[in-house]
């Protein structure tokens, strides 16, 4: 069940963050459902060929965020939380916004202009939807 994880070495982020993100994606799209048992820390480490301590860190942070729960001796499972999917998407939106802000800063685009362009993007999308209807 972890065959399609990808740990990228060109991705500048730490490996534990990449693991966290990919688990969240699985939960967000519903591949991993509430209450479902997920691989043990050691098993995922072996599957992904990364260190145990890295997967342990990813699981700890996911637990802190309420995405999974780990029970002593029973392993880990996806937390049962109805608002979870939405919160994960919320988080993803937050990440995209941060990324956009960073790029804008790099390109010397001021916040006002960025706001305007975000509005334009939004308008384009709603127009497309109208056309489809």
């Amino acid at each position: 069940m972890s065959g399609d994880f990808v740990i990228s070495q060109t991705d500048k982020r730490p490996i534990y963050l990449q693991i966290m993100e990919q688990i969240k994606q699985r939960v967000a799209v519903g591949d991993w459902t509430e209450g479902q048992a997920i691989p043990s820390i050691r098993q995922l480490a072996v599957d992904l060929q990364v260190s145990v301590i890295t997967v342990k860190r990813a699981y700890l942070e996911l637990e802190r965020e309420g995405v999974i729960i780990t029970q002593q001796g029973k392993g880990s499972q996806v937390a049962s939380n109805p608002g979870l999917g939405m919160r994960l998407q919320e988080q993803e939106l937050e990440n995209h916004l941060e990324h956009a802000a960073r790029l804008a800063d790099l390109l010397g685009i001021r916040p006002k202009e960025l706001e305007e362009r975000l509005r334009q993007a939004y308008d384009r999308r709603t127009e497309n939807e109208k056309e489809q209807v």
């Binding site: 740990i7 070495q9 500048k12 982020r13 730490p14 490996i15 534990y16 050691r42 098993q43 480490a45 072996v46 060929q49 990364v50 260190s51 145990v52 301590i53 890295t54 860190r57 960073r102 800063d105």
Partner: protein, 298 residues
């Protein structure tokens, strides 16, 4: 038995041009430790001492609970050791070597040996003298891995291997971790390998251990600040910042004891924090060695 696979306390050794400076090292069971450092840093000396191949002048060495070098015969049943300078018999086949090891070590796993043969793309009937460098390395590792030892000690296991072979080796090393009772210590120049598979990182330079701790905490301590420094603003000296490079209005500061308060301190000095970046082990390696070289020159 103690919960440490390896324990070195105050271990020292002096050579004419090199001193191993009373080092301390601890590796818990069930973990992988990567030993990194530049050429001539003392990685191989450390490994030889803990294998009982070289005797330390001071300090205590315990491997799997055995005192070294005194109890090395008992210890070596459970240790698998491989290094570059290990010799195989040129005129004999790999199969001959496999049978030889099997006759000595009762733990030899013949079916795992067959799996490894296939995975490493080796042929048992081939004579050692016909093998390439990479094939020899893989043959040596096969002979060690198939014994399923409690502790694997590997000196530069991935040096000189092509990417596919390297990948295979890393895969077998992480597979060892399926069993919580087994441990691995390996040295490498390849920081990417160490960053990927190690639980513990030990950084060694010129006979001294600069850092030794769990990898996640270690990587977490290092950050790079990208700063914009308006003219007239002087960057403050902050403890935990080990280097600052500045050209014109842009500066890069490196920290090995990151704290988010540092960003606040820079901002309140009048500088702008453009980015706070995590660092790869490779970048940390270079920063660490440069710093320790500067300390010596100063």
């Amino acid at each position: 038995m103690s919960d440490l696979a390896i324990e070195l306390s105050g271990v020292g050794k002096t050579y004419p041009f090199f001193t191993l400076d009373k080092i301390h090292l601890r590796l818990p069971h069930g973990q992988i430790m990567g030993l990194i450092g530049p050429n001539g840093a003392g990685k191989s000396t450390t490994i030889r001492i803990l294998m009982g191949l070289v005797q330390q002048e001071c300090g205590e060495v315990r491997v799997l609970g055995h005192r070294m070098p005194a109890e090395q015969v008992a210890a070596k049943w459970d240790i698998g050791f491989a290094s570059e300078d290990m010799r195989l018999y040129d005129g004999m086949t790999l199969e001959w070597h496999m049978n030889f090891i099997r006759s000595i070590y009762p733990g030899w796993d013949a079916s795992y040996a067959q799996v490894l043969l296939k995975r490493f793309g080796l042929r048992a009937e081939q004579k050692i003298k016909g093998l390439s460098h990479g094939q020899r390395v893989k043959a040596t590792l096969l002979l060690v891995l198939a014994r399923r030892p409690k502790l694997l000690v590997l000196d530069e296991p991935t040096t000189g291997l092509d990417p596919v072979a390297r990948h295979e080796i890393l895969r077998e090393l992480t597979a060892v971790m399926t069993d919580e009772g087994r441990s691995v210590l390996f040295s490498s120049h390849n920081t990417q390998d160490v960053e990927q598979i190690s639980d513990q990182i030990t950084f060694i330079d010129r006979g001294r251990i600069i850092d030794s701790m769990d990898k996640e905490s270690y990587l977490d301590r290092w950050r790079r600040f990208r700063l914009e420094v308006p003219s007239g603003v002087q960057l403050p000296f902050l403890p935990g910042i080990i280097g600052i490079r500045q050209e014109g209005r842009l500066a890069v500061a490196t920290s090995n004891a990151f704290d988010s308060d540092m960003a606040i301190a820079y901002e309140s000095s009048g500088a702008r924090v453009k980015a706070i970046e995590t660092m790869t082990l490779e970048e940390i390696f270079v920063a660490n060695v440069e710093r320790s070289r500067e300390e010596v020159e100063a």
